[in-house]
Structures are given as structure tokens and as C-alpha cells.
């Protein structure tokens, strides 16, 4: 299959990735090759096969009681934030 510039720009938009104009043709080429490569999967007979989501048969994701276990550490966590003011994470204005 061969993707177009428009396809790649759309995928990048859905993935919230800014690409430069020079990067677009590079991804058109490599993503097209990858989708050609994975098309081999069409050769497998999967008509009566259940899709597999977990590598260990019978394992399910555990739930735990809804109890508070950790203490409040927002100060420590916010030390990694790009911009914080009054304990709040700052982003560009979203409401006009």
C-alpha cells in the first residue's frame, strides 16, 4: 500500500505529533513499507480464532478495594512539571 502526504499528516494529527515538512515524505515512505510488511498477516487463516489480549491464559487484571493508600505528594510530583502556579499545572488558555 502507499500512503499519501495527506494520510501521514492526518495520522500525525490524530497522534498529536507535529511533523516538519521534511519529515512527511520520510514517514510516507517508511510507514507505507511497514503496512506492506504487516500485510503478510492476511495469509493466516484466522476465521475461527479468538483474538488474544493477554499472554497468560486465564489471567485477568486484578481489582483492588477503592481505598486511599498513598499520602499526598503533589509537591514532589509537581517538581517535574514544566509550569506550575499555586499548586496548579499551567497550560495555554483554553476558554476565550
Amino acid at each position: 500500500m502507499s500512503l499519501t502526504d495527506h494520510d501521514v499528516k492526518n495520522i500525525a494529527h490524530l497522534a498529536r505529533l507535529a511533523l516538519t515538512e521534511e519529515q512527511v515524505p520520510v514517514y510516507v515512505d517508511s510507514l507505507s513499507k511497514i503496512f506492506d510488511f504487516v500485510a503478510q498477516l492476511n495469509a493466516a487463516d484466522t476465521a475461527s480464532v479468538e483474538p488474544m489480549a493477554h499472554p497468560l491464559a486465564g489471567q485477568v487484571q486484578r481489582m483492588r478495594p477503592d481505598e486511599v493508600l498513598d499520602s499526598d505528594q503533589h509537591g514532589k510530583y509537581q517538581r517535574n512539571a514544566p509550569r506550575v502556579e499555586a499548586d496548579l499545572y499551567l497550560v495555554p488558555k483554553v476558554i476565550e
Binding site: 498529536r16 503478510q40 498477516l41 514532589k76
Partner: protein, 487 residues
């Protein structure tokens, strides 16, 4: 004369307990080697000199008082994918170039309770996506066996560091071969445990149905020592399995008489280089001499493992990496004009080329109209591959074959062609898709470059795998080879 860095982890452990040397001496010895050799290798992103010396001092006190944990005083390097409280944790990415982890990963916590001394954090492919350690924001890692060659990936920094004797053990992670392939390319023992055996809490996620943490060491015995303290149930990881951890060290010396080894027909195809194949066959002869029986088995769906992986892993990666949005932690672009611009440019500038490629692959295969054709189909083929393995294990105890189709390749040789790079993992991906434990041990060299033998076992058969690898290492000396210039 034997120097401290010539000893295995088990030998160092004995030496520490017999007070032949202290943990502070040992730590200083390895820190000096790191200072001297790491600038060439680029194997470490961060060196934690002060914390290491403090931890070594504490370990010496505990060893003196007789209250020390099983691994007290032993130096170790953590892959930079594991969160380490108060220490830079980059995952090989510009996105996390300033991220100081606010807590320890469970395995970091467990190993430090056991007394290990962390020397630093290892370089890696960005977000563990790569097979050559060339996608790291911190630059490629060099293979100590030949500085023009890659050390493999994604745990390339961990592998190069242990191979160059900068530490006797490093932690690593394996999503499609990222422990075993670098182990093969640098002459080490690399163990990927069963999915769910080792906690992933605090291990930065790539593909959650495949990721697993393990070790890079010289010997299977060393791997057994470390796994014993790393494995186990963790309520903070919802995929962690609640099963007792066996004593891997106690099981090492079981005789191999009567062991049934399955030779994977498909593993001797698919671009296997002749000289590598020859060494694998020689290793199998060693097992025959030990009384094992070789049985050819076929996994007909295995050739589809690479395309299956390159749908499933990118799909999961695109979901996992959506958390990097430039808001709460990590890289943020300059002067965003609105929130969408902040997301897009922070991610576009913070992620490298391969990570962006995988996110876009994953976004596409999960998007409306393509989900059934790609993702759902891949999940079905994944079951076919897993069923193939289950059938093989009704016949044999372990499966064997090469870890990688060739020894280490040149830096730069495969970076421009993602498919060629992806096919490097042709022999390792199957075990991840099926959640199986697998390891790679050194079994010879071609033109001075190491070659790895891969051993795959049924779920939770780590003790058997280590026993089988240990039996080979009792008969051979490949695991004792040290690259020239690093003796």
C-alpha cells in the same frame, strides 16, 4: 592476576562475605572503570557516585553486623527505563531529559532492600524502541568487542556496561528481544522471565502485553541470584502474578540427562548466517554429550511473529505514550500558541524519529476502519503462534535456537531501513508474544564477535532454563571471555 572485575557476581558475593574485600573497595573499583571507559562506550547516561559510595558504606556495616541482605554490597547498573527516586530517569529520550523520578520502581526498591549498590543508569534505545541502541537521544552505545559495532538493543547500554566489566550485573527489559539480543551481541547471559513474573511498577511502559524486566549477567548462576530477589508478586502491578518464587540457585545443578530439547525448524531458516548456525549446532552437541535428546519441532505460524509484533507493539505504544503531553512532566515546547499546539510540538520535538514512527503505526492500526484489518487480525495470529508453542511444549522441555541471525552489525548499517532493523528480532519476538521465559547464553564467536544460543521454556520455567544454561556453562568457558582492552 585476577582482578575484582574478572569475578562473577556469585564470586564477588562470596568474597564480600568472607571479607576478602569491602563493598566500598568494590564500588570504587567499578566507579574508576566507569570513569575511564564509559566516555568511549557511552553505556551510562548517569553515574551516581555519591549515592553508590553511601550505599556501599551501609552494606559494609550490615555485612559486619551479620544482618545483610542476600545481595548486600554488590554493584549494579539499572537500565534508565526504571524509575529511581531522586535520580534522573530519561528512558533514552529528550522527552524525559529533565525527569527526576519521584519514586523507585518496585524492582529498584526490592534490589536495594537486598543490599545492591547502584552505580548508575544505563543508556538505551529511546523508550526501548530499537535493536541497536542507535535511537537514544544520548547517542549510540558502542560494543566493547568492536567499537564500530552496535551492542544490540534496546538494553544496549546495560549490555555494553556488563560486557566491558563496568559492573557485574545490569537490569534490562525485553519487549521483543531487548535483553536477549544485546546479550547475544555482547557475549552475556540475558534472561527475560515469564510475563508477570517480575513487577513492572515504575518501569516506563512501551507495550504492556509484552514488556518484562530481567537481567544481564556473566552466568546463569548470577542471573539466578538476582532473579530470586527481583521476582515476586506486586499489588501495584495489575499484571503481576501471585505465585511463590522458587529458589532458582538451588535448582541450578539438576542433571540434564534425559532433557528433551526441541530444535525449532523455523529458527534455522530466516536469514540465519552460516557461521552463527554452525556454533549453535556445536552448542547442541554439548547438550547431547550431557545426555539430552534433540527433537526437531516446527512452529508453522512463527514466521508471522515479526509482522504480528509490529502491529501489536506499536498499537500499545501509541496508547502508553499518550501520557507524554507536555503538561505534568517531561519536555514542553517553547511558546505554545494554544493547547493543541502545546501537545503537538512538545511531542513532535520531544520524541525521536523511531518513536514517532511507532506511535503513528499504532495510531493507524487502531483507527476506525483499520482496527479489524490490522489490530484484531494480529491478536488472532498471536494466538496461533502461542498455540504453536504450547503444542511444542507437550513434546519437549525447552526449545533451542539462535538468539540473533548474525553477530553484531556496524553502527549505521540498518538505521535507514526500519524493516531490516525489525527483522533482527525474528528469533526473539515469539517468546514475547506468547509470554514465555527465554534466555540467551554465549556459545562462541565469529570473527571476534560473540554469538548467543537462545533457550525458551514454558511459562514460569525460569528455574529449568537457568539449570539448562548452567549445565552448559559448567562445560564451556565462553561466558568467561572478556573483550580485548577491558581485561
Amino acid at each position: 592476576m585476577t582482578e575484582l572485575h574478572h569475578l562473577t557476581l556469585a564470586e564477588l558475593n562470596e568474597g564480600l562475605r568472607a571479607r576478602r574485600f569491602s563493598s566500598v573497595e568494590l564500588t570504587k573499583h567499578f566507579l574508576a572503570r566507569i570513569e575511564r571507559l564509559n566516555p568511549t562506550l557511552n553505556a551510562l547516561i548517569t553515574v551516581t557516585t555519591e549515592q553508590a559510595l553511601a550505599a556501599a558504606q551501609r552494606a559494609d556495616e550490615l555485612l559486619a553486623s551479620g544482618e545483610a541482605g542476600a545481595l548486600a554490597g554488590l554493584p549494579l547498573i539499572h537500565k534508565d527505563i526504571f524509575c529511581t527516586d531522586g535520580v534522573l530517569t530519561t528512558c533514552g529520550s529528550r522527552m524525559l531529559a529533565n525527569f527526576v523520578a519521584p519514586y523507585d520502581a518496585t524492582i529498584v526498591e526490592k534490589l536495594s532492600q537486598s543490599g545492591v549498590v547502584m552505580l548508575g543508569k544505563a543508556n538505551m534505545d529511546e523508550f526501548a524502541m530499537g535493536s541497536s541502541n542507535e535511537t537514544s537521544y544520548y547517542g549510540p552505545v558502542k560494543n566493547p568487542w568492536d567499537l564500530k559495532k552496535v551492542p544490540g538493543g534496546s538494553s544496549g547500554g546495560s549490555a555494553a556496561a556488563v560486557a566491558a566489566r563496568l559492573a557485574p550485573v545490569a537490569t534490562a527489559t525485553d519487549t521483543g528481544g531487548s535483553i536477549r539480543q544485546p546479550a547475544a551481541l555482547t557475549g552475556l547471559t540475558g534472561l527475560k522471565p515469564t510475563y508477570g513474573r517480575v513487577s513492572r511498577y515504575g518501569m516506563i511502559a512501551f507495550a504492556s502485553s509484552l514488556d518484562q524486566a530481567g537481567t544481564l549477567t556473566y552466568t546463569a548462576k548470577d542471573a539466578a541470584l538476582v532473579l530470586r530477589d527481583m521476582a515476586g508478586f506486586d499489588p501495584r502491578d495489575s499484571t503481576s502474578v501471585d505465585m511463590p518464587v522458587p529458589d532458582y540457585v538451588a535448582a541450578l545443578d539438576q542433571p540434564l540427562q534425559g532433557l528433551k530439547i526441541g530444535l525449532l525448524k523455523e529458527f534455522f531458516e530466516g536469514g540465519l548466517e552460516e557461521s552463527t548456525g554452525k556454533l549453535i549446532r556445536e552448542a547442541l552437541q554439548v547438550y547431547e554429550r550431557l545426555g539430552a535428546q534433540l527433537i526437531e519441532v516446527s512452529l508453522p505460524n512463527l514466521p508471522l511473529s515479526v509482522p504480528t509484533y509490529y502491529v501489536v507493539a506499536p498499537a500499545e505504544c501509541s496508547s502508553n505514550l499518550s501520557r507524554f503531553d507536555g503538561v505534568r512532566f517531561g519536555y514542553r515546547c517553547e511558546n505554545p500558541k494554544d493547547l493543541v499546539d502545546l501537545y503537538k510540538r512538545s511531542r513532535g520535538e520531544g520524541f525521536g524519529a523511531e518513536v514517532k514512527r511507532r506511535i503513528m503505526t499504532g495510531t493507524y492500526v487502531l483507527s476506525a476502519g483499520y482496527y479489524d484489518a490490522y489490530y484484531l487480525r494480529a491478536q488472532k495470529v498471536r494466538r496461533l503462534i502461542t498455540d504453536d508453542f504450547a503444542r511444542a511444549f507437550q513434546q519437549v522441555d525447552v526449545l533451542m535456537g539462535p538468539t540473533s541471525p548474525t553477530p553484531a552489525f556496524d553502527i549505521g548499517a540498518k538505521v535507514d531501513d526500519p524493516i531490516t532493523m525489525y527483522l533482527n528480532d525474528i528469533y526473539t519476538i515469539g517468546a514475547n508474544l506468547a509470554g514465555l521465559p527465554a534466555l540467551s547464553i554465549p556459545c562462541g564467536s565469529v570473527g571476534g564477535l560473540p554469538v548467543g544460543l537462545q533457550i525458551i521454556g514454558p511459562h514460569f520455567a525460569e528455574a529449568k532454563l537457568l539449570n539448562v544454561a548452567h549445565g552448559y556453562q559448567n562445560e564451556t568457558l565462553w561466558h568467561r571471555d572478556i573483550p580485548k582492552g577491558y581485561e
